[in-house]
Amino acid sequence: MKRNVAIWMILLAASILLLFFANLLLGSVAIPAASVWKAISGGEVDLIWQNIILKSRFPQALTALVAGAGLAVAGLQMQTVFRNPLAGPSVLGVSSGASLGVAFVVLLSGRLGGVALSSIGYMGEVAMTMAAIIGAMAVMLLIVYIAQKVRGNVTLLIIGVMIGYVATAIIGVLKFFSAEEDVRSYVVWGLGSFSRVSGGQVMTFVIIMAVLLPLSMFLVKILNLLLLGDGYARNLGLNVRRARMTVILCAGVLVAVVTAYCGPISFLGLAVPHLCRGIFKTSDHRTLMPASLLAGSALALLCNLIARMPGFEGALPVNSVTALIGAPVVAAVLYKRRKEDYAE
């Protein structure tokens, strides 16, 4: 039992290394593996190659690595706290909030200021990131406020979904009144991408996540207790209300930050925890948390790789790839679990 866990963890870690290198290696420009190695180990290589690897592929792979981990961990936390297998980063309306923030900036700025933000480069990028974080945080604070007031998890879940609908509706109205090129740049943002984060912002993103991810690991005991249901958790000494808020807050911040930098990435957060439960056959978060973190990174790198496969040149939208891979995973795991339930 314990050995299996260790073996799988090592396998996951190894696959991350492999996929990371594959992400550096593969792309529209063919660069030999030896040169890729030289470029990242600081050796002397063709300047163009070096630029492609260090300025484009490396930040992109790093973004995918960190974003995947963040979404998977947030997904696991939400599925546990809401005790609902379909809970994921997008359910609480947090990603809708981020989208709304971006929509305001991208769509309204062109309309009101006369200058389309999407066309002003770096400053526009920063503004979009900030808008996404503000939008996501606003929705999340609203959710946390409501979480204090309502008793049931399902109620909260439904309210989250409703907030999502409202945000989508407002975005629809904004789109209707906006210039065509602004709508287009908003749609592109909505497709999600690990490549939009440029140079300096990557480091900011990685640092934020490097702080948040270990913090969320501290919640394993709380999450294990929450699995038992409110009554038992409370009887075992947990302040359920505070625990629920902490977990929602943690997951919300993770989703907000990832969405701000990469756009709404669907299905990763939903699929990875299911995948890990299927592999490790446990609901112990001391195993599931690190497992989800690793598997999330690996899957994000894989999706990024597929999106950029030679032949697709301009790169497929990551969101389509994650959905194409994630949806079958969720379906398969749930279907398999249904069979196992009747097995004994």
Binding site: G229, R277, S283
Partner: protein, 333 residues
Amino acid sequence: MKHTDTIAIKDLAIGYSGKNSVKVVAKGITDTLRSGYLTCLLGENGAGKSTLLRTLAGFQPALGGEIKIMGKSLKQYRERELATVIGVVLTERTSLQNMTVEELVGMGRSPYTGFWGRLSAGDREKVDYAMHQVGIQPLAGRMVQNLSDGERQKVMIAKALAQETPVIFLDEPTAFLDYPSKVEILHLLHRLAAEMSKTIFLSTHDLELALQMADRLWLMARGRGVVAGTPEDLAMDGTLDGFFTRKGVAFEKVTGLYRVEPEYHDKIRLKGDATACAMAAKALRRNGILAGDDVESDVTVEALPAGGYKISKGGANATLAVTMSELLELLQL
């Protein structure tokens, strides 16, 4: 003696307080719960059994009065501390997946484990001991989603034992179980109370079983508060008689148990072997006929020493019935 007062309740009022309305479910509850005893809480649906248990477990505030646990007011307990004093087994069915019995019982150690919730060797011993006490060691590696209702209930009891609390509250632990499992669970709880000196307090609808197995009963009825005592005392002073009897239910003082009491439309006199008569009386009572050796009737059924029954109606010739169904048929029931 090993029986000490663990919980003292004084003039307790329970219920729910909303923003502008207070709904009192029961008030004026005053009694004590003692260690080493299995105390059963009986009452109709809506009498407030769950509310009382929830209030005693600290899940909801009392509307008035005082609850003292181990000499200290419930309000003064911190969450973590209370978790080492009261263990609960709830009616809510957990939707746990992919967790072994051993892991679930291990969750009972949570109040004692550190930041990551890792079990020490000592914790593991206590988990083993708890599983041993409840007799679920063979299930240790099984996934909880594959257990029967009875097994699951035992696992939750083992969890409460692993929690090492002097007090255990159980909310309808016998609901949803088949009869043998109900008996088994109550036997188990009775033994645990006596052997481990635990204060065990449970709510149940299984009147018959509670009357036979409980050391003490708490009777709860809407608007009447709580009456407590040993089942026998409550039987003899007539409390039980008045508490649950209604049309169709009678309380038998001799056995101290309830009996289904139909409306009789006929009478038959019984005589002969006592066991055979009792069986005949039972069958006849079900068919609305009051039967016994002290009943005046022109129909007499005599249980024969060789087996079978002889039926004599007034002056007519006596007929013989070998089995009970023949007897009922001949009496045209």
